[in-house]
């Protein structure tokens, strides 16, 4: 586990948080979906139609965002529930929100001294890719990108001091 009192990077986020975020995402996908994520270095201009957000409040304030394509959302739901991807429509929002929620919880539980004093909001899921994201964060964002079954998944953490 990492301490809250780490050396800050120039982005104002403690060193060591990025690998923790990466591990937190990988663990959720491996345990709950049985999927190993592949690293993704550069992001194609693929539209991400699903955005799940979970707020963090307390000693760590901010918002964790997970973005993916509709096909990815469908496949994640299918793997999570063990059902055919074409039957997942009514469960996709809930499933994507829960994955983001587990990533946020898993990440904060890895931060010694912070997770204890940080609460999560219930997840919010937005569909559609034509929007602008304006954050009041003053640090970060931390961003990790993966390939899930060949499609991109992006997770970012915007931190408020």
């Amino acid at each position: 586990m990492k301490s809250a009192n780490e050396v800050m990077t120039r982005d104002g986020v403690p060193e060591g948080w990025l690998p923790l975020l990466e591990v937190a995402v990988r663990e959720v996908f491996e345990i709950m979906l049985g999927s190993k994520l592949e690293p993704l270095a550069n992001l194609d201009p693929t539209p991400c139609e699903f955005t799940a957000m979970v707020g963090l409040a307390g000693q760590l304030c901010g918002v964790l965002t997970m973005r993916c394509t509709q096909n990815s959302a469908q496949l994640m739901t299918s793997k999570m529930l063990g059902m055919d991807p074409k039957d997942t429509d009514q469960h996709m929002w809930d499933a994507i929100g829960e994955i983001a929620n587990m990533v946020a919880g898993n990440f904060k539980n890895k931060l010694t001294g912070i997770g204890e004093h940080c609460m999560l909001s219930v997840p919010t899921v937005i569909t559609g890719g034509d929007y602008s994201f304006h954050s009041l964060a003053d640090a970060g964002p931390l961003e990790v990108m993966f390939l899930f079954e060949g499609a991109p998944v992006m997770v970012s953490l915007e931190v408020h001091s």
């Binding site: 663990e27 959720v28 345990i31 709950m32 739901t77 999570m80 529930l81 063990g82 469960h91 809930d94 499933a95 929100g97 829960e98 929620n101 587990m102 946020a104 919880g105 898993n106 539980n109 997770g115 204890e116 004093h117 940080c118 609460m119 999560l120 219930v122």
Partner: protein, 128 residues
């Protein structure tokens, strides 16, 4: 092991299905699964009859899992029924709080069916 009636309280219907599947994968023979999307609905289910096992999330709208845990202490149909919290809130203070007001187990999300088995099966065997 006898057939088990379970109550699963979680605001996510996806998570309720995953918890049910994990119980079955753990070898628990479920005769009935009741679902509730928050603590208040959970109390309503317990008002209709008893169960053998309760699995409950913490962060839920309307009534959270900690308040639900407090309130079922005075519900006749919940007397002696083991409650296991399954939640993303994994901090030590949450664990201590939940255990101090009656939870018998605490599982952090993400979780495996094996973890569910480790926490739940001994509680059901205690009730035999």
């Amino acid at each position: 092991m006898n057939k088990v009636r379970a109550l699963i309280v979680d605001d996510s219907s996806v998570m309720r299905k995953i918890v049910e599947r994990s119980l079955r994968q753990a070898g628990i023979d479920l005769s009935e699964v009741r679902e509730a999307s928050n603590g208040a609905e959970g109390l309503g289910v317990l008002g209709e009859g008893t169960v053998d096992l309760i699995l409950c999330d913490i962060n839920m709208p309307v009534m959270d899992g900690i308040e639900f845990l407090r309130q079922i202490q005075s519900v006749q149909n919940a007397k002696g029924v083991p409650v296991v919290m399954i939640t993303t809130e994994g901090s030590e203070s949450h664990v201590v709080q939940a255990l101090s007001i009656g939870a018998r187990g605490y599982i952090r999300k993400p979780f495996t069916a094996e973890q569910v088995k480790e926490h739940v099966v001994p509680l059901l065997e205690d009730r035999k």
